[in-house]
């Protein structure tokens, strides 16, 4: 494949690229740019963080699971170009020295890049901006101090973004939905690559060859968000950081869950379509989308069809998606916000859910008029708690009703035990999440994040 992009301001035009070569491997091995580190090679530690500049945004991203074709048309800035060409340090670099933010230093380039991105974006929530960068030495306190100290300093002039390169057409990186539809229809065995936060790991950890990949990131329509009569139509290519913004006012609890989805780096890559299409039982978007009654828009060639989201998930590893068919968009119906999403994991931030519960319960005159409850982590697929919903609907909204759902949970779910949680724990907490929803609804204190010392 042929790929063109900017690296630290320099135009790069690669031909005959191995589409599974990661940016990290290329930087370190081909370019001798060894400032960007490999800590895990799977998107979890942030040591490989680089800055990616696109037409409308500037993000921190993990180079270890970014495949070279995903760079098409973008500009990349690595740690080597965070200080000025004459060696003058960026304010975040100065602050990290002053505040003793590095010990062994191995995590530091990744932190510096994440900090520089947040700094350039005027993002002052250092804790969130840096939650995708692991440090084993410092305990983070000095790093957070450094980020806060630098946040009011002006962005240095050498950090201004260059204009993005012209990209010659590359057939495997389609730019319109029509060309994608045609290409995929003609090559139904191809692998679609969106954010590659799953596919990247097939390469770096599964050591797999990717069968004729088709890269989706340049398909304009997939990134569209439109308000329709049926609700908010969100393109499959919309990434989690954009999704978070979309949900902030509509469904704040959904947005708060997304704030804990992966890390800034992962959220800047991972797409809504990928999170649904992979059929994972622990994907975090399907439960809230199912609770909101979302519709999936699928397309195969020129044939389009709509599906209620839960019908897409047939069985573990099996979805209702034909060869050559792809997800175009998801529509979330407009509705008053009654949604609460609870993501349960060993670590609060940047951890895969052991259980993710989404509750959308409408109460009219003291009675439950509608209950839409969906879970991840409780079955081989994201799944509605239909039996529980049936117990709730039509009953008074009180503790007795919550208690009355006890047995229904077991008819809805028989979860598995794994390294994240035991089956018992999953079932107990799923039940307790309903209690939490109820107590929160009547004004009780249930949110850990609201407690301060």
């Amino acid at each position: 494949m042929d790929v063109s992009f900017l690296l630290n301001g320099e135009s790069i035009a690669l031909t005959g690229v191995d589409p599974t070569c990661t940016l990290l491997e290329w930087l370190r091995a081909d370019r001798n740019l060894t400032g960007t580190k490999e800590g895990c090679n799977e998107g979890d530690c942030g040591a490989c963080t680089v800055m990616m500049i696109d037409t409308d945004r500037r993000v921190a991203i993990n180079a270890c699971i970014l495949l070279l074709p995903q760079l098409q048309g973008k500009s990349i800035r690595t740690i080597e170009a965070i200080s000025a060409p004459d060696g003058k340090l960026h304010p975040v670099q100065d602050a990290m020295i002053t505040h003793h933010g590095s010990q062994c230093g191995f995590c530091t380039p990744g932190f510096i890049v994440s900090m520089a991105v947040a700094h350039a974006n005027g993002d002052k929530d250092a804790e969130t901006a840096l939650s995708g960068n692991l440090c084993r030495c410092t305990g983070y306190a000095p790093i957070l101090r450094a980020a806060r100290a630098a946040s009011d300093m002006p962005v240095p002039e050498w950090m201004s973004d260059p204009s993005l390169p012209e990209t010659p057409a590359e057939p495997l990186i389609p730019e319109t939905a029509q060309s994608l539809a045609d290409l995929y229809f003609a090559n139904p065995d191809a692998t679609l690559v969106a954010g590659a936060t799953d596919v990247g790991l097939w390469v770096t950890k599964g050591l797999q060859k990717i069968n004729s990949p088709i890269f989706l990131h340049q398909v304009a329509e997939l990134n569209n968000v439109t308000q329709t009569d049926a609700g908010l139509r969100i393109g499959a290519g919309v990434t989690m950081d954009q999704m978070l913004l979309l949900m902030t006012d509509r469904h704040p609890s959904y947005a708060e869950m997304l704030r804990r989805y992966g890390s800034v780096q992962v959220r800047a890559s991972a797409t809504l379509g990928g999170n649904i299409a992979n059929g994972s039982p622990i994907g975090d978007n399907p439960p809230p989308l199912m609770a909101l009654g979302a519709t999936l828009h699928l397309r195969q060639g020129n044939r389009r069809r709509d599906l209620v989201l839960e019908d897409f998930f047939l069985d573990y590893g099996k979805q209702d998606r034909a060869p050559g068919e792809f997800i175009e968009a998801v529509t979330v119906p407009d509705q008053p916000d009654r949604l609460a999403v609870y993501k349960l994991s060993k670590r609060f931030d940047q951890d895969i859910s052991a259980v993710c519960g989404a509750f959308n319960i409408v109460v009219d005159a003291g009675q439950v008029s509608k209950a839409c409850i969906a879970f991840g982590g409780m079955a081989g697929i994201p799944k509605r708690a239909t039996a529980v919903e049936n117990v709730l609907i039509g009953r008074p909204w009180n503790e007795d009703t919550i208690a009355a759902t006890w047995d229904a949970w077991e008819s809805d779910f028989s979860p598995l035990s794994d390294m994240r949680a035991s089956a018992d724990y999953r079932l107990t907490t799923a039940r307790n999440m309903l209690t939490r929803y109820f107590i929160a609804d009547i004004g009780g204190a249930v949110d850990l994040k609201e407690v301060t010392a």
Partner: protein, 763 residues
């Protein structure tokens, strides 16, 4: 004086610009080869048949080696010669290296390593403590037992008795830079080894041994590690030996770095422990007799398990006087990764045992746990009695009474305790907990001969100083501290001092940078070397300008001898021209140590370092989730060599310790396969896990022992401040009902919820 200044890390600028070089960043010549191990898929048994033809045929593969292709057994063990580089046909854990792939790229080597076809003869593995006890599978012939007095009558005669046990999980080091080595073959069959290791001399020794070379034929260099934490004390041996063997076989430079998942699967971790206890105490909670049984899962090879388990026994008292005590320590051999050194080296596990006892006694008597802790503290130096540890060493400078007072005051312990009590009464779902716990940690290697260090210092004729010592830099700031010492000795600014990579050809026969001893030992050795050169310069200048050598002053970059006032460079130049040697070695060995590990008696430690931590948490009783709300730490670094670097160790140690006891969970399946072998499933603390209110202070009192500038070691002790988080979680759980709190570690949300349910149900 340059020491005691809060200077930044010597490589800070290199770190923040990405210019600091780690092993994988060292430019390599064309033709450098890359290695990967093929790993065992079974925990116990034998290889029946092995077909590596697909591996050999894979793209980019240059050679594939099995045990019989090696020049020797290539033992990797730091202790018992029980770790052949490649399996001799018997298999001891899932992840054990069976064969070695040499290929043209890292990726090619990894890919090829997947292609082996191996038939196994499986036997049933010994995985758990129960399995090991049932099979009497252990290191040493039986448990180690240390006793003082007979605790059993003391327990039964005491007013109250309790017994119980706690499981304490292990911990993956998760140094951000994985294990790595790079070997350049030289003329004469010599080898130059670059290794990410805490112990270059051990690497040199093991590589020389593997290749049947004298140690002088192997030079090991370590500029820095991207984190070590004990995980690079012995675990780097295999990579360095593999590279050296492959370099010898191919004549090419060879590099090996573990992919993160391989690093998890192959290398050792912190020992997990079960500690059971029986204790007798009075109405105030003062202990009369205590008996501990410590069971450690050591994994398949001995590695450093014996001294680790010794140190767990040595910290079974933590800060408490135990009039009668018995400690029985079982070092169990299991078919899992060979557990290894990890910050604290068994001390933390031993300490959690006694802290669990303190919390249980307090809960039983309905007392504030801090009152019970203080009741049992060793006596202050001013008081007689209650100062002898179970192994006989006298605790001479027990600072924890004053430190606890100060911390209670600055953390507002009493007010907050009461406020939390009231808050909990009003909140049915969320509960808060507060705990203040102490740390007393013994400083010195318990293997006495390791307590030595060497240094090499050169002063050049332009007055610049080059410094080398046996310690390694893994982020702790050792190089900067030692450079500050040298600068102070010569009375010059730090910019005149250049610290060079640790190198076995400059300083030989070094000990691992471990046991928190780095600056104590190497600082002293460097000071000795500097002093030798300084006296030579002084003698020369006194001879030239008059006065006595002792009267020559080195300060503020000047050297003053009688009426002459020279810059340091002029002094060096003058000495050089007078044919005075400006190069010297320095040597130090820790005094006063005397230790009999079999009897558990003597003085294993030169001194103790102290600390105290007060942590507050909030838990959610519906899911067991929790947050740390605030932590106040007070730590004793003696007269700090560099307060900024020391505070960094305290903050980082606390978070790492809290991680160990909370979210960091290692899970093996029933076949012995580690399930949490990547950061996707093994979670170390992230930014959000740092306490939002985090106050850290140093207890700045000079070490009564004559250490370098009266400082104290600070690498390991703060790790155990994290125990306060676990104890605070227990307090929060206790607030949910009347039952007995029992919270194993790591206290994952799942374990917290289970503990809440038991307390609620009143059992």
């Amino acid at each position: 004086m340059t020491h005691a200044k809060p200077l930044p890390h010597d490589a800070a600028r290199l770190h923040v610009t990405g210019a600091a070089r780690y092993i994988d960043d060292i430019p390599t010549p064309r033709g450098t080869l890359h290695l990967a191990f093929g790993l065992s898929a079974i925990a116990s048994g034998r290889i029946l048949a092995i077909d590596l033809s697909m591996v050999r045929a894979a793209e980019g593969v240059v050679a594939v080696l099995q045990a019989e292709d090696l020049p020797s057994a290539c033992d990797c063990s730091p202790s018992a010669h029980d770790e052949p580089l490649l399996s001799d046909g018997t298999l001891h854990y899932i992840g054990q290296p069976i064969f070695l792939v040499v290929a043209r790229s890292h990726l090619a080597a990894r890919k090829a390593a997947q292609l082996a076809d191996i038939a196994y003869d499986k036997t049933s593995p010994i995985l758990t403590i129960a399995d090991a006890l049932a099979a009497n599978s252990r290191f040493e012939d039986g448990p180690r037992i240390w006793e003082r007095g007979d605790p059993f009558p003391a327990i039964s005669d005491a007013r109250h008795q309790l017994d119980g046990s706690i499981d304490i999980g292990g911990q993956e080091h998760f140094y951000l830079e994985g294990q790595a080595a790079l070997v350049f073959p030289q003329e004469n069959a010599d080898m130059v080894v670059h290794s990410s290791t805490q112990h270059p001399t051990e690497i040199q020794h093991k590589v020389a041994h593997a290749l049947h070379l004298p140690m002088h034929a192997v030079r090991v260099e370590t500029r820095r590690m991207g984190g070590g934490f004990g995980g690079k004390e012995s675990q780097g041996n295999a990579l360095a030996i593999a590279c050296a063997v492959a370099a010898q076989a191919t004549g090419q430079p060879c590099k090996m770095r573990y992919d993160r998942d391989d690093d998890f699967m192959i290398t050792g971790k912190r020992h997990d422990f079960r500690i059971s206890y029986q204790v007798g105490f009075d109405d105030q909670g003062q202990i009369a007799g205590l008996s501990f049984r410590q069971y450690a899962r050591c994994g398949w090879a001995q590695d450093l398990s014996l001294p680790v388990c010794d140190r767990a026994m040595l910290h079974a008292d933590n800060a408490y006087y135990l009039p009668t005590i018995r400690i029985e320590s079982h070092r169990l051999r299991t078919n899992t990764q060979s557990a290894t050194a990890f910050r604290g080296f068994g001390g933390p596990q031993g300490m959690v045992g006694i802290e669990a006892v303190m919390d249980q006694i307090a809960a039983y008597l309905g007392l504030d746990p801090l009152d019970v802790r203080r009741k049992n503290y060793y006596n202050a130096p001013s008081k007689k009695g209650r100062r002898r540890t179970p192994y006989g060493q006298i605790v001479r400078d027990f600072a924890l009474h004053e430190m606890t007072d100060r911390l209670m005051d600055t953390s507002h312990y009493m007010e907050r305790r009461n406020a939390i009590y009231q808050w909990n009464a009003k909140n049915p779902v969320l509960k808060r907990g507060l705990a203040l716990t102490p740390v007393k940690f013994g400083i010195s290697f318990t293997l006495t001969h390791l307590n030595q260090a060497g240094a090499l210092v050169h002063v050049y004729q332009d007055g610049s100083i080059s410094l080398n010592h046996g310690g390694t830099e893994m982020g702790q700031g050792l190089f900067q501290k030692v450079a500050q010492i040298a600068a102070s000795r010569f009375g010059v600014g730090i910019d005149l001092v250049r610290i060079t990579a640790t190198d076995t050809s400059k300083v030989p026969n070094t000990s691992a940078t471990a046991a928190s001893s780095g600056s104590d030992l190497n600082g002293m050795a460097v000071a000795a070397a500097c002093d030798t050169i300084r006296s030579r310069i002084a003698a020369h200048l006194a001879g030239k300008y008059g006065g006595t050598p002792r009267g020559v002053i080195f300060a503020d970059g000047r050297v003053i001898a009688a009426d002459a006032n020279l810059s340091f460079a002029e002094a060096a130049q003058s000495a050089y021209e007078a044919r005075v040697s400006l190069s010297s070695t320095g040597f130090y060995k820790t005094p006063k140590l005397k230790w009999d590990r079999l009897r558990g008696a003597g003085r294993p430690f030169f001194y103790y370092a102290y600390g105290a931590a007060c942590s507050e948490v909030v838990i959610d009783t519906l899911t067991g989730e929790y947050r740390i709300l605030r932590a106040d730490l007070l730590h004793d670094a003696g007269a700090s060599l560099n307060p900024a670097l020391d505070i960094g160790q305290v903050e980082g140690g606390f978070v790492q310790g809290a991680g160990w006891l909370t979210m960091e969970e290692l899970v093996w399946d029933n076949k012995g396969r580690l399930q949490t072998h990547a950061p996707a499933t093994y979670k170390i603390p992230a930014t959000g896990d740092t306490p939002p209110v985090f106050n850290v202070d140093l207890w700045d009192a000079p070490n009564p022992e004559a250490t370098i500038y009266r400082s104290k070691a600070v690498g390991e002790p703060p790790f155990m401040l994290g125990i306060s988080v676990w104890s605070a979680l227990q307090q929060a759980v206790a607030a949910t009902g009347t039952g007995q709190v029992h919270l194993n570690a790591p206290a994952t949300p799942e374990r917290v919820l289970a503990a809440v349910e038991r307390v609620r149900d009143g059992n």
